[in-house]
């Protein structure tokens, strides 16, 4: 049974697009046929993060307006044969997204893919609403700071009340929490909210904790999702999150400060 997943956060800049790209790539790595859609019409980024910006011919809005077929607009990743990207339009705005059009595209994708990820724009307006409206599951991305937690709390309230599942009175959207840009040393120093602080407020199951890492930025700039880098801690954290997403029970890593070994202590990390 295929599923539609929204990646949402409310607040901007917390790592929704990075997470969408990495979870989608991680699922494809595991052999799941996955499509990832950029709902941020007018501020197209997902194609950059996945390194396919020079292959965009048609976009989401073209498909909605029936100027192109879905198969024409979907871009197949060059590294991962199971990963497909539907880019947003850069020249239009969110009003170009129609409820009927989004539903039609999602239903078609549902019949062809195992997982359909919707990369939500920031905010709680039209683009974000349509990205979450038809979802079966949600990955709520949050940074360890109070403003991000509050915005995610708001998004969780909307997921519970304004989604199609809620309106139809079906089983609610299955929500999971992904904490990004986590710095265990700063948490230990009391400068940053801990995973427990965040979970205490949001009260949904933890999908994973992605440590703050310079590798994420470099990978995004290079258009290579960090999940493909087996040696990067953030890459491993995304792999763990994907495994948990698929139902595996893994212990959480990167939450506590790692003790440096003698060599690292002597020569720095």
């Amino acid at each position: 049974m295929s599923e539609i997943i929204v990646v949402s956060s409310g607040k901007g800049g917390v790592g929704k697009t990075t997470t969408s790209a990495n979870i989608a790539a991680g699922l494809a790595l595991r052999g799941k046929k996955t499509a990832v859609l950029d709902f941020d019409v007018g501020l197209r980024n997902l194609d950059l993060v996945l390194g396919c910006e020079r292959r965009v011919v048609f976009d989401f809005i073209n498909v909605i307006n029936e100027e192109a077929s879905l198969n024409q607009a979907l871009i197949r990743d060059k590294r991962l044969p199971d990963l497909y990207i539907l880019p947003a339009s850069q020249t239009r705005d969110k009003d170009a997204l129609t409820e009927d059009g989004v539903e039609r595209i999602l239903e078609q994708l549902r019949s062809e893919f195992d997982y359909v990820l919707c990369d939500s724009p920031a905010g709680i307006e039209r683009g974000a609403h349509l990205a979450m409206y038809y979802a079966d599951r949600a990955i709520v991305v949050v940074n360890p700071e109070v403003s991000s937690v509050r915005d995610s709390d708001r998004v969780l309230g909307i997921l519970a009340s304004k989604s199609k599942r809620a309106e139809d009175g079906r089983e609610p959207i299955r929500e999971q929490l992904l904490v990004t840009r986590y710095e265990a040393t700063r948490v230990a120093a009391g400068e940053m909210m801990s995973v427990d602080d965040i979970s205490d407020i949001l009260g949904i199951p933890l999908l994973g904790v992605i440590p703050e890492s310079s590798g994420v930025l470099e990978a995004s700039n290079a258009g290579v999702p960090i999940v493909l880098d087996e040696n990067a801690d953030a890459g491993q954290a995304y792999r763990d999150a994907v495994a948990r997403f698929l139902g595996e029970d893994l212990e959480h890593r990167f939450i506590n400060v790692e003790k440096k070994n003698l060599l690292k202590r002597l020569f720095g990390s």
Partner: protein, 222 residues
């Protein structure tokens, strides 16, 4: 001098009036009741405007009989209050008094049904509002920062109250807020509000009751 001052100024001002609710249409019984009131020390009511509320009487009433007996005792009937306008319109006009309002009071036999407490099972999240329009509200799973619970009556919060709680939203000063863990941003009863800061609260993060006392909010450890 402006023209307005020369002629007449109009404004709407609510006045407090004494309302008499006769239980019977018999003018003698009514007169006896008024007399008893005067003897009780109601002499300040003499020459005061009186509103006759007719809703307790089921039989047809002769307005002239009642107003005559009232004026003999020094009362001045200023108006009628009835839920049945049509029945008294003619009599009121004949006696030169107006019908002021409708059913002001509850009939004794129509006991008001208890309004059910609104129970919110899920956590009230940031941006959500739970509103109990005519009764109490119970938030069974806490209120997050940015969330809001409002009730005409009392509010009970199990779990953490971290958002806003506003009890007595219709003006009921007797309403109270109870919570098992007080971390609220703002509490209010009958429009009197207070923003809270953990530093100066003795019951912070503990069970508490908030009530209105002498025009200000009192936070009591529970």
């Amino acid at each position: 001098m402006s023209r307005q001052q020369e002629s007449c100024r109009f404004s709407i001002v609510p006045f407090a009036l004494t309302v008499a609710q006769p239980g019977s249409a018999d003018p003698e019984i009514f007169a006896a009741a008024l007399n008893a009131k005067l003897k009780q020390g109601g002499s300040f009511l003499r020459h005061a405007p009186l509103v006759l509320d007719l809703d307790l009487i089921t039989k047809p009433v002769c307005i002239a009989d009642l107003t005559n007996r009232a004026s003999q005792l020094g009362f001045r009937v200023a108006g009628l209050a009835t839920s049945d306008h049509a029945a008294y319109e003619e009599q009121a006009a004949a006696n030169g008094i107006s019908i002021i309002g409708g059913a002001r009071s509850q009939k004794p036999d129509s006991v008001k049904a208890r309004t059910a407490t609104q129970i919110v099972e899920h956590t009230v999240r940031s941006g959500q509002q739970a509103y109990a329009h005519d009764g109490d509200l119970t938030a069974a799973a806490g209120v997050n920062p940015g969330g809001e619970v409002v009730a005409q009556g009392c509010i009970h919060v199990f779990g953490r109250l971290r958002g806003r709680a506003m009890a007595g939203a219709g003006g009921d000063a007797q309403a109270r807020i109870f919570c098992t863990c007080l971390e609220a941003e703002l509490v209010s009863i009958a429009g009197v509000y207070q923003v809270l800061d953990g530093d100066d609260q003795p019951c912070w993060k503990g069970p508490a009751e908030i009530r209105l006392h002498g025009g200000s909010l009192k936070i009591i450890k529970r």
